[in-house]
Assembly symmetry: C2
Homo-oligomer: 411 residues x 2
């Protein structure tokens, strides 16, 4: 077996960025089903949004200068020149010392440049008294103020959140080109691993927890999943199952068999897949938990070997699996869901190794307190108690009680 | 029209907690499709997890005391008494000065209480040399260490993340009782509002952006959505569409028509729905943006009236709509996805009002910088540039450049 130098987490990240490329499949969705997807192409506005200048309040469209100096005691007097209905064109032109009633969202007439709120005015007959001045453009959204025709609204690689979906709808787009969901294959291996639904376990058997946690994460990150039947500790069975997944999927995740055991075919099988270029890139990452992590890219498909312990597997998949998926989707923003917290106790760490410590966050002002969840990396119960992962960078020899630390949320 | 005293955000929150109750519908899902759902009942372990003591490394199961004092120069000598295969029962009992080979995850034999890593030992013939001592229970997970039979593993109201799904799978549960997804009805109203896919807009018309952003958020928070056709500014049309949604749904969201306009039937229609108990609870919240927010609970169904501006509607729905949905699901953890950041400039605010300012987060150590996204509340483009909402509590008169502030992520 080929022993690689163990990579730092920074090197692992750089290798992923250098070798995992965006998938070249796209498909169309409507804006109301676009949230959670990633834009495949830049989107340019074909029209101004809004398409006309409109009021943001219920009130009177005016020329702002006509209200200058108005007070409760000395109101400005304007003449009511009509009212504009919601959804109607303002066909008139406003003259000096005139006001026109407009509800929220209605078009303001040409000649008007501000709207006096209804609470700041009184109407008697055709006379509008204004008790408070408005500034030029106050309570008005101008034509094209949200988006100007021709401008780039969103760029390829943008994650479509509900607000981006709304912006696409505002442009009148009925079909958006998004990246196809990557199809990610998942394979657990090991003679001791049995399907989770098996009831009476024989001594030595373990239910397949990673086969539930990892596919659940993959789905929550916007991919489709193919879960293989569990492979036995048998080279041929493992190879066949891996081959089958590799044909169907854009990426493969394997769990188990990545430490230095007697029956470890994982590396050999990974090296046999695809065209072997660039091939095995990482065999071991200087990270705790999760050192026995493997990364290969072959025929443009990433293959990630996770450690078998459920908590280690989830930590590695959070920190690197997510990055790989983001690369496949061509996403231009990374994982930004972190917070700063004060750590509740001293935690030692080895320099040269990045530690991800499971923590519970207890809210406080301004910082939450990060309290380590103690327990072995194999214990799924430690993950249940955790709100996120505290990072101890490799250059540090641990953290002291009260230090500010970075915490990655589990999302 | 009945004018209520405007409520503070804290009062709004308390009113939601006091008047919105958990839905009483449940359904069954398998652990591999449980992520994103909420537990309806407590879950107790029916067996120990793991069901046997096992090794967390590849190595030699030993009595820890037999390795005390071992060094590279002065190894401990043990006799190899066999090896245990993955997934097999360890039928033997380990004697003093014996070692048994175990791969990661395999059962350790009775009498062994620790495992020496393979890297810390050498095998020649039947002789195992151990170069490093192990402590009692080192590299071992004990029977029941993750979960003990009979213990409460997860309580009703727990959000099932991938790790909770894994813990349920570890217990061999094939069916989990979760809260049924709430069915949330959404209704936009206004003569000027047209379906987003309409191509050539007439002057004064506006595409229905809230009808995309709000349903997208509802779905992302684990609910089903029924989107009504847009209601005209016509009492009868509005009433009929609201009635239809109210019959079908567990909660209704309305957008538009919640400020003090001439054609504002929203409050009347809301008061006409259901049994009217407890009825209209909030008419105006002291918050910017989003003051004209309405909350009613009638026949146990919450009805939330959102402001019409897309950005205001999203802010209110994030801060309160999510809380209402969490209550309907009976969730026992709230929105915890916040961070602390340094604000990049002075921002004034009125005391007595809570402000939610859209911000971009620029990463830094230890804090990110929160930079306000400037722009009117009607502009959807301001939300696209934002990573989250900075909170200025009502007791404050704004924040100063460099202050630490709380930022709610958009998730």
């Amino acid at each position: 077996m080929d022993f690689f130098r163990v990579k730092s987490t920074e090197e692992m990240s750089e290798i992923i960025d250098a070798h995992v490329q965006r998938l070249t499949y796209a498909e169309s969705v409507s804006p109301d089903h676009a949230a959670g997807r990633v834009l495949y192409e830049d989107v340019h506005a074909t029209e101004d949004v809004p398409g006309f200048s409109r009021s943001t309040v219920d009130g009177y469209a005016v020329k702002a200068m006509d209200t200058h100096g108005a007070t409760e005691a000395m109101p400005a007097f304007l003449s009511l020149a009509g009212s504009i209905e919601m959804g109607q064109e303002a066909a008139m032109v406003l003259d000096m010392d005139q006001a026109v009633y407009v509800p929220t969202g209605a078009m303001i007439p040409e000649g008007a440049d501000a709207v006096v709120m209804i609470e700041d005015a009184d109407l008697s007959g055709d006379l509008v008294q204004v008790f408070k001045p408005v500034r030029h453009q106050e309570n008005v959204i101008l034509k094209g103020e949200d988006t100007q025709a021709g401008s780039a609204v969103l760029t390829a690689g943008t994650e479509i959140r509900p607000q981006e979906a709304g912006a696409l709808a505002a442009l009148g787009l009925s079909s958006i080109t998004v990246c196809k969901k990557p199809v990610v294959g998942y394979l657990s291996s090991g003679d001791e691993i049995v399907p989770y639904a098996k009831q009476e376990l024989k001594m030595g058997e373990i239910r397949d927890v990673n086969g539930v946690t990892i596919p659940s994460l993959i789905r929550s990150w916007g991919c489709d999943v193919v879960v293989s039947p569990i492979a036995a500790d048998d080279r041929q069975d493992f190879q066949e199952k891996a081959n089958r997944l590799f044909e169907q999927c854009d990426m493969i995740i394997m769990s188990g068999g990545s430490s230095v055991g007697e029956k470890d075919y994982t590396t050999e099988v990974i090296e046999s897949l695809g065209n072997g270029t660039p091939g095995l890139l990482v065999h071991g990452v200087s990270v705790k938990p999760g050192k026995p992590t493997i990364l290969s890219v072959t025929s443009a498909k990433p293959v990630l070997g996770l450690p078998g312990h459920p908590a280690s597997a989830m930590v590695i998949f959070h920190m690197f699996g997510k990055q790989i998926i983001h690369r496949l989707l061509g996403m231009n923003r990374g994982n930004r869901h972190t917070t700063v917290a004060r750590v509740s106790q001293n935690i030692p760490s080895s320099p040269g190794r990045t530690d991800y410590i499971r923590v519970t966050l207890k809210s406080g002002t301004p910082y939450s307190e990060a309290e380590p969840v103690l327990g072995k990396s194999g214990l799924i119960s430690t993950l249940i108690k955790s709100d996120g992962l505290m990072e101890i960078p490799s250059r540090k020899e641990g953290v002291q009680k009260g230090d500010l630390v970075k915490v990655h949320y589990f999302i």
